[in-house]
Symmetry: C2
């Protein structure tokens, strides 16, 4: 076993000479066994091999079955999916369109979706759009060619603003979007009960004694942003409180926003605005955990103690929120369940159910950690 053999292995056979003109690519395509090879090796017809591969065992005798199994194993036969798809027209692929997986919420959701899809035997085609409409369009057009017609999209902007509407009929499952926003013929939505979530957060603060509560969000227009804002107003009104709203308008936040650190920045720059409010709020609810964590860092730098001087609640319960100091109190979104549900809707579509029309709402759960206490003043 010497380590000297650094020579690159060359394609062994299939010696073909073509025109020496141009960059003729190497025959990378390995000579993989075809169904015909297996049939020949097993001494049966290709139809029988096909039946075997597709589990139609009742049409095969025991001995034939064994001979085919043996040949398949010996040749390492894997059916060519391109040929299969060309003939059947069916695909086992799901497109997954997401602003950016670096955002921890999206990352966890994509992870959950991928796990569920793989379990169901589907391949996932991932696209991080960065909310770039052109990217999304190119991606979806490619998918049409690939025969993929089922799409899961996360937090799309409303139809007018950006969602690319493919002319061919995709079945779409939208997470964090409103049915009336994306006017699509075959749409399922998966959402989170934002109103209840906000109410849970406000209720928690209310019980601790807080009466002056601010809400911090950013100017993007997604379903969750609208719903949470409305939910906050309602939660406050229901308790006879007046909400101090801080909506941060970030200049370079209009188009290419989203991801990771930028969301933190939103929270950071919102902190001074919160502190300017009079009377000063004793608690803050943030649109999501990332903004909350940005606020937290900024409050700390301003010499304020959380929860000593100010209580803070986030929403989502992404995994980073347990990492801050103090650990963030937040409202949990059941990410895994939502991802699994999305895949489930897709599978139902493909199983032949009529064009989907379901709206699923998941329930929030308060996760109490360390950023809330009784009001100081």
């Amino acid at each position: 076993m010497d380590d000297e053999h650094m020579e690159t292995t060359r394609p062994k056979r299939s010696e073909r000479r073509s025109s020496a003109q141009g960059a003729t690519s190497v025959d990378v395509a390995a000579d993989r066994a075809t169904i015909q090879d297996v049939a020949k090796a097993a001494g049966v017809s290709n139809t029988s091999v096909s039946n075997y591969m597709n589990g139609r065992l009742e049409r095969l005798g025991l001995e034939t079955r064994a001979r085919i199994a043996d040949a398949v194993g010996r040749l390492g036969f894997k059916p060519n999916q391109a040929a299969r798809q060309l003939k059947t027209g069916k695909t086992k692929g799901i497109a997954l369109v997401v602003p950016s997986i670096v955002n921890p919420f999206n990352g966890q959701l994509v992870f959950a979706i991928e796990q569920a899809a793989v379990k169901a035997g589907y391949a996932v085609h991932l696209c991080n759009t960065m909310r770039d409409n052109a990217v999304e369009k190119r991606f979806l057009e490619n998918l049409v060619g690939l025969g993929v017609s089922d799409l899961i999209t996360i937090a799309p902007l409303s139809a007018r603003k950006g969602f690319y509407r493919p002319q061919s009929d995709f079945s779409v499952v939208a997470i964090d979007a409103d049915r009336s926003d994306l006017r699509l013929p075959r749409l399922d939505t998966i959402n989170f009960n934002h109103e209840v979530a906000i109410d849970l957060a406000v209720e928690h603060l209310y019980e601790l004694g807080h009466r002056r509560i601010a809400y911090v969000t950013d100017p993007m227009i997604t379903y969750s942003r609208r719903k949470r804002l409305a939910g906050f107003k309602a939660a406050m009104a229901n308790r006879g409180l007046q909400g101090d709203l801080v909506v941060l308008l970030d200049a370079d936040h209009g188009a290419r926003d989203i991801a990771d650190a930028e969301m933190l920045e939103v929270g950071r720059s919102a902190a001074p605005e919160v502190l300017k409010l009079r009377p000063r709020p004793t608690a803050v609810v943030a649109f999501n955990d990332m903004i909350a964590l940005g606020l937290l860092a900024s409050f700390r730098q301003a010499g304020l103690s959380v929860p000593g001087d100010l209580s803070l609640v986030g929403i989502d319960d992404v995994w980073v929120s347990q990492l801050s100091y103090p650990a963030l109190t937040t409202v949990r979104q059941p990410i895994e369940a939502m991802g699994a549900a999305a895949v489930d809707r897709i599978i139902n579509h493909l199983a032949g159910a009529v064009g989907g029309g379901s709206d699923t709402l998941f329930l929030p759960e308060l996760t109490v950690r360390e950023t809330c206490g009784e009001p100081s003043s």
Copy 2:
């Protein structure tokens, strides 16, 4: 054998096209335009359409070109990739095998790879293995059927321990792996200069006056872990220092480990071990940022101040490390560049370069934030 009664009623394409208009039913099986339809519509041969679609415009007259362009636009023709692939044997797909995208380092890397791949016109097939060998195996076997033979893998375990070696000839680009670990015929590696990274960290602490420095890592066996550990020992020895090593052996950390919060846990449980060391170290270098953040949280809970009582350096500079308090000093890994390089190697493979054999090493860069100061004692 040959009989004349081969007449089977074969539906013509023209018949399949039912122009149902009105509120009858949804056009469920929307049959997409084929190259033949376009040829007919443009009054040319399918070969000419094929040439047009593949940019071989020099074989087309100006007028023909325009007629085809028009027909393609009118019919919304998108080539069927399954048919194309079946004929050519080529795919524009890259498999991406990663333990879990929830881990922020992997998430950022996958993001970078996806962006680079899309830019180059490649589809990405993502698989979060959770280091489950069976999952990885199933995934890769499916890909063989899909004609994908190019694979990017992140932080695979060494060959013996787990990396699934596909029998068919994949071209593999491994990020965070050693050439000698995965004995594969066509392998490129993309790595980070771990020794220099650690040296940068130790140097930074040394300059601040630290002489007693501990290193915290976890027991998994990956390339980066081995290299960083060795690098730490070397960096200490070169400065005439003795390193206090803390290797945490976490029981339920053996097999299904990795992701997000769990890495934090490693840091958390390592903190008491660090504080037990005598003489007590004045600074700690962590294997990566996540462990460092876990340590940070735990030190704080123990009533210690960072960097007052103890300095701390991480490695990677994942985006979360700027979120902690105090913000983490770390050594930056050029994630975007590494992702782009990985895709570049794949494309070179497909462009016909002989079976890849390159090892690329990226350089670290110290990112000074707030967790390091002069030693207290």
